[in-house]
Symmetry: C2
Subunit: 257 residues, 2 copies
Amino acid sequence: MTGNKNQNPHVSVDCVIFGYAEQQLKLLLIRRTLQLAKQDASDRFMALPGDLVLEDEDLNQAAKRVLKELTGLDNVFLEQFAAFGAPERVKKEKDKQWLQSVRENPEARVITVAYFSLIDAAACMLLPGSFSAQAVWIPIREVPELAFDHNEIFEHALNQLKRKIQLRPIGFELLPEKFTLSELQNLYEAILGRELDKRNFRRKMLRSGFVIPLEEKQQGVANKPAQFYQFNRQKYEELGEAYVNLRLEGDDDYFLN
Amino acid sequence: MTGNKNQNPHVSVDCVIFGYAEQQLKLLLIRRTLQLAKQDASDRFMALPGDLVLEDEDLNQAAKRVLKELTGLDNVFLEQFAAFGAPERVKKEKDKQWLQSVRENPEARVITVAYFSLIDAAACMLLPGSFSAQAVWIPIREVPELAFDHNEIFEHALNQLKRKIQLRPIGFELLPEKFTLSELQNLYEAILGRELDKRNFRRKMLRSGFVIPLEEKQQGVANKPAQFYQFNRQKYEELGEAYVNLRLEGDDDYFLN
């Protein structure tokens, strides 16, 4: 990566990519490119997937490229959510050695534009990107200390996700095509980090019209087989830019109580 | 401004500052610094207030500085809403001459981080900033062709504002301390660009608890004097990061119908 004249050394994109697998909300992280000896201290840090923006590339294109290289996925929900540009963000002692090995001017401030994505972790194969040695899914409760200000960027995205699922049913990108209402509830609980009342959740989700019951039921389960549902994509698309009301009137009757 | 070593030549902030006066929603614009002859074509364009980020400055600090220099105001609602970084955004023919007169490297891509602000236009005096010759309020329906991609940035902010007032009563920053419900409705109509049903608006706004009736009424008006209200700041602050439900259940009963 050193000295690639095609990169803008002052601006990067970083992607907070959430996935859902084994009933856990996970974060896609990369291990930094191994240009240093394996035992080197600066190799300890994982990071959000990201890269410097290429000279002929728009910000959105750069984020799409990063996501595509790592997951092979195109056409994924991907949204810019904030820019981070504190002068000291790339000047921490812990990041110095690594920066020196990959940047022409390791002291220069890099402003990063952060993107937010949701994908079905079970349905994608992780690939090593040109900017990373290895990509891994880490459960959000186990996210370690990350490079630069990446922990802050991750927390910001997680808070955004918690707010967003109260406005639009965006969690569906994380699930397979057909799912049970219990699986959907598990997903919401994993995002919000707390338990939800089962009866309330089912009633309100069904009433919202965003899930459609299928003929099909679970097979080969010990208990009473649960019904499968699918996401009502048409209703979602009709919505356009508007927000849905996923809350009811009054303080004590929110959708997500 | 040319050759100020203290500026990061690759990153700027731009502020979309909405104000409300004479029952119109207005946008704060600047005329570019007059370093060129008055008749010069590149002098025709107005622009959003903005500036390159200083080397020791965070992005938020830069936006606050721009707003403070122009309006004298501190502690104003100011929110980052998007970054714009298309490679061609500073390469349009119309902007060339001006850029050549103020930038060391006029060809270099500048990525801008856009901020969004709401102020009571009637209560602030406009000052010439270090980055502009003159600041003016322009009604949003009369915004001319602007520099760079500033029209796009403005449209983006306006759409955001339209969505936001359905989620939180943010319009209050635009009004004086005390106001009538008609004034509040005028403001909402100016933002949304359409008329609202008076009875519905009053009923729902009163029920939301965000306005408190005052003892005081209008004086010296020909018709029946209207009651003054003030914004319930405590309720707003209790809300924290959460969104309010400014919509009711059902498709045909939105708050803003």
